[in-house]
C-alpha cells in the first residue's frame, strides 16, 4: 500500500461527503468520528495485548467534565475539552498504575468494574448529575469564544474530521515507532520483550494514558454535540460497541479502528429495518464476524490483496565491531558478573543451593550439569525473572538481585532463551529492530512529532538490525515472518535478538539445542567472535563438544549445588563430575527440581 496518497484520497472524500449527504448521514458520520477517538485509543492498548472493557468510563468522564464546566461555570468547551482530556488521562494513569502490573484477564475485569463504579456514581450523585434524569442544556461546542459557536451539523462534522485526522496521524506514528514496536513485542512475547529491555508495565501504562486522553476528548465533543449528558454514556453496551469497532475493524492495524467505527456505526442503523429483530441480527452478524474474520475487516482485506513486501533497500552493513559490544554498558573491572551464594527454593524443594561463581570480563564460561541441576534457574535469577530465596547477583558492582528483567538488560545483561523465542508474527528484521529498543533515546513527544533526531535514530536502529542479521547469517531471511523460519534459523534469530540491546554480558541457554552439526559449528564460531568483541558469555549447554570446544572455564552444577569449577581439561577428569554424569549416585538428578 502506498500510504500517503491513499490517506489523502480518503481525507478528500471525507471532506466532500457532507456536501452530498443529507443531515442524517452526516450525523452518523459525526458519531462514527466521535467513537473513533476512544476506539483508536483502545487499539493502542490492544496492540500491547491489553483489552480494556471500561473505556466508556473515560469517554463519560470527558463528557461530564467539560459538560459540567460549561453548564455551571461557563467554561468554553474548547478549554473544557483540554481539562477533560487531562482528567481522563490522570484517572487512566491511576487505574493503570494499579492494574497494569497484573494485566491480562485481570485488567479486563477490573476495567469493567471501574466503569460500573463510575456509572453508579453518576447515577447516584444527584446534586451534580441529576442522576438518571440526565443533564439537558449542555452548551454547544465553540472555539474558545461564544462568537465561534458551532451551529450546523456540517460545522460539527468538519471539526470532528480535524480531530479524527489528528488522532489517526498520532496513532499511526506511535504504532510505527519504537514505542509501537515495544507494544507489539509485549503482546507477542512478553518475556522476550522484557529481556531486551522493554518494560511491559511502562509501555502499556503510556498506551493507557494516551487511550484515556483520547476517550476524554471524544466524550467531551460528544457531550457538546448531543447537548445532553446522562449516565447512559457509562453503560456496558457502549463499551461493547467500542470493542466491536476495534476488534471488528482490525485490532493492532492502523486503519482498523477507523473502518470499525464507521462500519459499526452504520450497521445498527441499517438494521433498523428489521425492527424487533434488529439487536438479535446485530448479535448474529457480530458472532459470524468474530468466527470468520477474527482479525477484523482490515486484516481480511489485506489478505485478499496479498501484499508483496517492499524490497529491502541495499545498505552497507556496519562492521561487526560496531554491532557487538561497544554499545553495552562499558565494562569496568575484571569481573563482568558475580553470583554470590544464590539459593532458590520452590516450596520445600531446593533447586539451587548456595551457588557462587564469577564470570571474568571477555570470558566464555559454561554452566553444565545433568537435567534438573538448576542451570536454567540460575539463569532466571541472573536475568531478573526469578528472585532468589537468598544470595546476590552483581554486575560491575551493581546489585541486580531484585531488579526486573528489563532493568537487568539496562545494565548490559541479555539472555537468549532455551526454547526458540522470537516475536512470531513480525519479520526477522522487525524482531531485531525491536530488540534495539533500549538503545533508542527519542522520547514520546519526539516520536509523535517525528523529529529529525527521532528519524535519524530510527534509521540507525534499522541499520543496526540489518547488520546483526548479516552477522548471524540471516540477511536473506530479513523479510520473512519469524514464525515461518526453520527451528535453526529461529535460534540464530534469537541470538541476533539477544545481541540487539548491545549486551556486555550475553547469557545463552542451550544455543545448540535442536541444531544440526553445521548450525552448531556456526553458532560456536559466532560465540567466539562475539567474545572477541569484548562481550562476556555465560553458556548453558548439553552439547559437550560445544562446551569443551568453546569455553574458557566450566562450572558444574548437580542437584542445585556447585560440584566443580575449572578449565575444560580439569573438568573432564574430575571424579565427582564423572559420577554426577554417569549417575553412580543413583540417578537422583532426574528427580530434582525441573528448573
Amino acid at each position: 500500500m502506498k500510504r500517503p496518497p491513499s490517506a489523502l484520497v480518503v481525507l478528500a472524500v471525507l471532506a466532500v461527503l457532507p456536501l452530498i449527504l443529507d443531515d442524517y448521514y452526516v450525523h452518523l458520520l459525526i458519531m462514527a468520528g466521535i467513537f473513533f477517538l476512544p476506539v483508536a485509543g483502545m487499539n493502542l492498548l490492544l496492540a500491547g495485548g491489553q483489552l480494556t472493557l471500561g473505556h466508556t468510563a473515560f469517554f463519560g468522564i470527558g463528557a461530564y467534565t467539560s459538560g459540567l464546566l460549561a453548564l455551571h461555570w461557563g467554561v468554553s468547551p474548547l478549554y473544557g475539552m483540554v481539562i477533560a482530556a487531562a482528567l481522563s488521562a490522570l484517572v487512566g494513569y491511576l487505574l493503570g498504575k494499579v492494574t497494569l502490573r497484573l494485566r491480562g484477564a485481570y485488567f479486563v475485569l477490573v476495567t469493567i468494574g471501574f466503569a460500573e463504579v463510575i456509572r453508579l456514581i453518576a447515577t447516584n450523585w444527584i446534586d451534580l448529575t441529576q442522576g438518571p434524569l440526565g443533564l439537558p442544556g449542555v452548551p454547544p461546542f465553540d472555539l474558545g469564544r461564544a462568537s465561534f459557536t458551532l451551529t450546523t451539523k456540517r460545522q460539527y462534522y468538519y471539526l470532528m474530521l480535524v480531530f479524527a485526522a489528528l488522532t489517526y496521524a498520532l496513532c499511526a506514528r506511535l504504532l510505527r515507532s519504537r514505542f509501537g514496536r515495544a507494544l507489539v513485542a509485549v503482546r507477542q512475547n512478553e518475556s522476550l520483550a522484557e529481556s531486551v529491555g522493554v518494560s511491559a508495565y511502562r509501555v502499556t501504562l503510556v498506551a493507557m494514558v494516551v487511550a484515556c486522553a483520547l476517550a476524554g476528548i471524544g466524550g467531551s465533543y460528544y457531550g457538546h454535540y448531543t447537548m445532553f449528558l446522562s449516565p447512559e454514556v457509562f453503560s456496558f453496551y457502549n463499551t461493547v460497541t467500542m470493542v466491536v469497532m476495534v476488534v471488528g475493524g482490525g485490532q493492532a492495524t492502523v486503519a482498523g479502528p477507523a473502518v470499525g467505527a464507521v462500519v459499526f456505526t452504520f450497521l445498527p442503523e441499517l438494521l433498523r429495518m428489521a425492527v424487533f429483530y434488529r439487536m438479535l441480527l446485530y448479535g448474529i452478524i457480530l458472532l459470524l464476524a468474530v468466527m470468520f474474520m477474527p482479525r477484523g475487516i482490515v486484516d481480511a482485506l489485506q489478505r485478499l490483496r496479498r501484499r508483496t513486501p517492499p524490497p529491502l533497500p541495499e545498505s552497507t552493513a556496519p562492521p561487526v565491531d560496531a554491532l557487538v559490544g561497544g554499545v553495552g554498558a562499558a565494562g569496568r573491572g575484571d569481573t563482568a558478573l558475580r553470583v554470590q551464594n544464590v539459593t532458590v527454593r520452590f516450596g520445600g524443594l531446593t533447586a539451587v543451593d548456595d551457588v557462587t561463581f564469577a564470570l571474568a570480563r571477555s570470558e566464555i564460561l559454561a554452566l553444565i550439569g545433568p537435567n534438573g541441576a538448576g542451570k536454567t534457574t540460575v539463569f532466571n535469577v541472573i536475568t531478573g525473572f526469578l528472585t532468589p530465596t537468598a544470595g546476590r547477583v552483581l554486575a560491575d558492582g551493581v546489585d541486580l538481585t531484585r531488579l526486573p528483567p528489563h532493568e537487568v538488560c539496562r545494565h548490559g545483561l541479555v539472555r537468549m532463551f532455551q526454547k526458540a523465542s522470537v516475536f512470531p508474527e513480525r519479520t526477522a528484521l522487525e524482531n531485531v529492530t525491536i530488540a534495539g529498543h533500549r538503545l533508542g533515546r527519542a522520547g514520546f513527544w519526539a516520536l509523535v512529532f517525528d523529529t529529525e533526531a527521532a528519524r535519524r535514530e530510527e534509521a540507525a536502529l534499522a541499520t543496526r538490525a540489518r547488520g546483526l542479521l548479516a552477522f548471524t547469517g540471516l540477511a536473506d531471511r530479513a523479510l520473512e515472518v519469524a514464525g515461518n523460519l526453520s527451528l535453526g534459523e529461529q535460534r540464530l534469530l534469537g541470538l541476533a535478538i539477544a545481541l540487539g540491546p548491545g549486551p556486555s554480558v550475553l547469557l545463552l541457554d542451550e544455543p545448540a539445542a535442536g541444531l544440526n552439526p553445521a548450525e552448531t559449528q556456526r553458532t560456536m564460531t559466532l560465540i567466539q567472535e562475539i567474545r572477541r568483541q569484548g562481550v562476556s558469555v555465560l553458556l548453558v549447554e548439553h552439547d559437550m563438544k560445544m562446551v569443551m570446544g568453546v569455553s574458557d572455564r566450566i562450572v558444574v552444577l548437580n542437584q542445585g549445588k556447585k560440584i566443580a569449577e575449572g578449565r575444560p581439561v580439569e573438568i573432564q577428569r574430575d571424579p565427582e563430575v564423572i559420577r554426577a554424569y554417569l549417575g553412580s549416585g543413583g540417578g537422583s538428578g532426574e528427580a530434582d527440581a525441573r528448573a
Partner: protein
C-alpha cells in the same frame, strides 16, 4: 440492633450463595479454558426463564422443573462450546471473549422475543409466611435457595475432587499440554467445563429467579457480580469464588442497610479496587491454582 445485623448477614449469605454459584462457574471456565465468559449472565437468565416456563406456564412440578431447567442450560453450554468456542481455540484471549459478548447480545434479545421484556415472578410453591428463628425472619423460599446453593457448591466440590472428569479438569487446569500428553481428552474436558459452568449459572438463575424478578436483562447485573466475585477470589480459584460470593452478598446486604442502597451494586467493585491495591492476587493470594 444486633438482631438486625444478624438478619442482614443471613440475607446476604443467602444471596451470596447464588453469587458463589455464578462465580464458581465463571472461575472454572476461565481457569481451565482461559475464556472470560460474557454470556455467563445470560445462562443465569436462561435458567430463570426456563423455570418460569416449565413450572409457571406448563405446570410441571417446581423441583422437577428446576432440575430440568439447570440441565437444559448445561446442554446449551455444551453446544456453545462445541459450535462457537472450539473453532476459536488458539486465538488471542479477546477473540473468544468477543464471541461470548455477541452470544450474550443474541441470547438476551432472543429472550426478549420469546418472553417479552416485562419483569415476571415465579409463583413458587413455598409459603410466604416467614420462618422465625429467634430474632431472625426468613421466608421459606430463601431458606430453600440457601440450602440448595450450599448443596450445589458441595456437590461441585466433590465432582471436581473425586470424579474422573473432575480430575481431568484439574489436570488440564494445571497444564493443558501435559494433560493431553498423558491421555486426557482435552476437547471433552473443555466441553464439560463450559457446560458445567453454564449449568451452575443456570442454577443460580433458578434459585435467585424464584426470589427476584425475572426479565431478559437480569443477567447484566448478575454477570457484573460474578466478575466481582471472581476477581475477589482470584481468577481460577474455586474456594476463592465461594468465599468471594458469600462475602459480596453480605457486604451488599450490609452496605444497602447501613450505607446507601444506591451504591449497593458498587460495593463489590470498590472492594476489588482496594483489594488490588493491597492483595493483587485475590483474597488468598494464590494465583493459578485450582482447589
Amino acid at each position: 440492633m444486633l438482631a438486625e445485623l444478624v438478619q442482614h448477614v443471613v440475607n446476604g449469605l443467602i444471596i451470596g450463595g447464588g453469587y458463589a454459584l455464578m462465580g464458581i462457574g465463571l472461575t472454572l471456565i476461565f481457569g481451565i479454558m482461559r475464556v472470560v465468559n460474557f454470556a455467563h449472565g445470560e445462562f443465569y437468565m436462561l435458567g430463570a426463564f426456563l423455570l418460569f416456563s416449565l413450572f409457571g406456564t406448563l405446570g410441571i412440578n417446581f423441583f422437577v422443573a428446576s432440575l430440568v431447567a439447570i440441565a437444559a442450560v448445561g446442554v446449551a453450554g455444551a453446544v456453545v462450546e462445541r459450535v462457537i468456542l472450539r473453532p476459536l481455540r488458539g486465538q488471542a484471549m479477546e477473540i473468544p471473549m468477543l464471541a461470548t459478548v455477541a452470544l450474550s447480545v443474541i441470547l438476551q434479545n432472543a429472550a426478549i422475543l420469546a418472553w417479552d421484556p416485562s419483569p415476571k415472578t415465579i409463583r413458587h410453591p413455598f409459603s410466604p409466611i416467614p420462618l422465625v428463628l429467634g430474632p431472625i425472619h426468613v421466608v421459606a423460599i430463601r431458606v430453600f435457595a440457601g440450602v440448595a446453593a450450599v448443596a450445589l457448591i458441595i456437590g461441585s466440590h466433590f465432582f471436581i475432587q473425586k470424579t474422573r472428569l473432575g480430575k481431568a479438569m484439574r489436570a488440564t487446569f494445571q497444564d493443558g499440554e501435559m494433560a493431553r500428553l498423558v491421555g486426557v481428552d482435552v476437547d471433552r474436558v473443555y466441553m464439560a467445563t463450559f457446560s458445567f459452568g453454564a449449568a451452575l449459572a443456570g442454577a443460580a438463575g433458578v434459585l435467585l429467579g424464584s426470589i427476584f424478578w425475572v426479565y431478559p436483562a437480569m443477567g447484566d447485573q448478575a454477570a457484573m457480580k460474578s466478575f466481582a466475585v471472581v476477581i475477589m477470589g482470584g481468577l481460577g480459584d474455586f474456594l476463592g469464588a465461594i468465599v468471594g460470593g458469600l462475602l459480596l452478598g453480605v457486604a451488599e446486604s450490609l452496605g444497602a442497610a447501613y450505607i446507601s442502597s444506591g451504591y449497593k451494586d458498587a460495593i463489590g467493585f470498590i472492594v476489588i479496587i482496594l483489594l488490588l491495591l493491597f492483595r493483587p492476587a485475590g483474597l488468598f493470594g494464590r494465583r493459578d491454582r485450582l482447589r
